[in-house]
C-alpha cells in the first residue's frame, strides 16, 4: 500500500474515491463545515459525532450524511 492508494466508498448513494484510511470526520468536512445539525451512518449504523475522527473508512463502505431540511 502506497500513500496514493485509494478506497472507493458509497457516499449518499454516489461512488466516491478517497484516500485510503480516510476517517469519517474528514469525509464529512468535505460536505459541510457546520458544527452541528449533521449525522452520519456507516453501513446502516449511526456513528456519533465524537467517534468520527476514530472511524476509518474501508473499501465498499456505505456512508450516509444527513441533515434537517424543510419537511412534514
Amino acid at each position: 500500500m502506497t500513500s496514493t492508494a485509494t478506497t472507493t466508498l458509497s457516499v449518499n448513494g454516489e461512488p466516491r474515491r478517497v484516500a485510503a484510511g480516510l476517517t469519517l470526520d474528514r469525509l464529512v468536512a468535505d460536505f459541510t463545515t457546520a458544527p452541528g445539525g449533521v449525522a452520519a451512518a456507516l453501513n446502516e449504523d449511526v456513528v456519533p459525532r465524537g467517534r468520527w475522527a476514530q472511524t476509518p473508512l474501508g473499501e465498499g463502505d456505505r456512508v450516509e450524511i444527513l441533515t434537517a431540511v424543510q419537511g412534514g
Binding site: T32, A39, I65, L66, A68, G71, G72
Partner: protein
C-alpha cells in the same frame, strides 16, 4: 393560551398548533408563516446533506426559539424509521420524533404493523414518540399502550386538504386516549382545524394547508385563531343538536296584537 397548556411528555406548550415546514415557496415566507402561526413545535425531515443548498430551516427555528421535531417521512419499514430517528437524535440533539412509516407512495397512509413495531423499539430506546397513524381507535390504543407520548391520527391523506373524513373515529379516539391526540394531515382550511379541536384533539399539526395556501402568512394566522377557537368551544361544551327550533327570546309576555291588521303606515 397560557392558562391551558398542551403537555406532551414532560414539556408544556402554550400553542396548540404544530407546524410542518414542507412545501413553502421560500425560507422567508416559511419564517413569516411560522411566526404568524404562533407555533412552538415544528417538524423537519432528515435528508442527505446537499452542500449546494444555502440557508437552513434549523437556523430559522433556532432564531425564534421554536422546538424542532424531526420526522421519519419517507420511511417504509420499521428499520428505516428507527435508524432515521437515531440519526435525527444525533444531528439535532433531541429524542423527540414524529414517527412516520408509510405503506405506499400513492396514499402515504401509515403501515400500521411497521408503525407499531418502530414505536415499541423507539420507546424502549428512550425516545418521546409521536406517531402519525391511521384514524383507527384500536391502533391508537395500542400505540398508547406501547408508550407513545401522543397519538397523531390523520384526518385524510397528507396534502389532500380533505379535512376530517371520519369525525366519529376521532371522537372515539379522543374520548378514551390518556395522551394528547393531535390531528395530523388533512387539514385544508381553518374550519378543519377548529373541528379537530371541537372533537377533543389536544392540538393540530399541519403544513400544506399553510405553506401551499395562496397567502401562507394569512392562513397561518387563520389557523392559529381556528385552533384557539375550537379549543375554547370544546372546553365550553357545545349545545346539543336538536331536531326542531328552540326560541332564544322569551315566549312569555308577547303582546296580543290583531294578526289581521298589521299597522303598516
Amino acid at each position: 393560551m397560557a392558562d391551558d397548556p398542551l403537555t406532551i411528555g414532560d414539556t408544556a406548550f402554550t400553542s396548540r398548533l404544530i407546524m410542518g415546514t414542507g412545501g413553502a415557496p421560500s425560507l422567508d415566507v416559511l419564517e413569516r408563516a411560522l411566526l404568524a402561526s404562533g407555533t412552538e413545535l415544528t417538524t423537519v425531515a432528515m435528508r442527505r446533506l446537499d452542500p449546494s443548498v444555502s440557508g437552513s430551516v434549523l437556523s430559522v427555528l433556532n432564531r425564534h426559539g421554536i422546538r424542532v421535531l424531526p420526522n421519519t417521512a419517507g420511511c417504509y419499514t420499521a428499520g428505516e424509521a428507527v435508524l432515521t430517528a437515531r440519526l435525527a437524535r444525533e444531528a439535532l440533539g433531541t429524542d423527540w420524533v414524529k414517527l412516520e412509516v408509510i405503506a405506499d407512495e400513492r396514499t402515504l397512509l401509515p403501515d400500521p404493523v411497521e408503525l407499531l413495531d418502530a414505536a415499541e423499539t423507539l420507546v424502549d430506546d428512550g425516545f418521546t414518540v409521536l406517531p402519525y397513524t391511521n384514524d383507527d381507535p384500536v391502533l391508537a390504543r395500542k400505540l398508547e399502550e406501547a408508550g407513545c407520548a401522543a397519538i397523531m391520527p390523520l384526518g385524510s391523506p397528507i396534502g389532500s386538504g380533505l379535512g376530517i373524513r371520519n369525525p366519529h373515529n376521532f371522537q372515539l379516539i379522543t374520548e378514551r386516549a390518556g395522551v394528547p391526540v393531535i390531528l395530523d394531515a388533512g387539514a385544508g382550511t381553518a374550519s378543519d382545524a377548529a373541528l379537530a379541536m371541537e372533537l377533543g384533539c389536544a392540538a393540530v399539526m399541519l403544513a400544506s394547508a399553510v405553506t401551499r395556501a395562496q397567502e401562507p402568512v394569512l392562513m397561518a394566522e387563520g389557523m392559529r385563531h381556528a385552533v384557539e377557537a375550537g379549543r375554547l368551544a370544546h372546553r365550553a361544551g357545545r349545545i346539543p343538536r336538536r331536531h326542531f327550533a328552540e326560541a332564544s327570546s322569551p315566549t312569555e309576555g308577547v303582546a296580543a296584537l290583531d294578526p289581521e291588521r298589521p299597522a303598516f303606515g
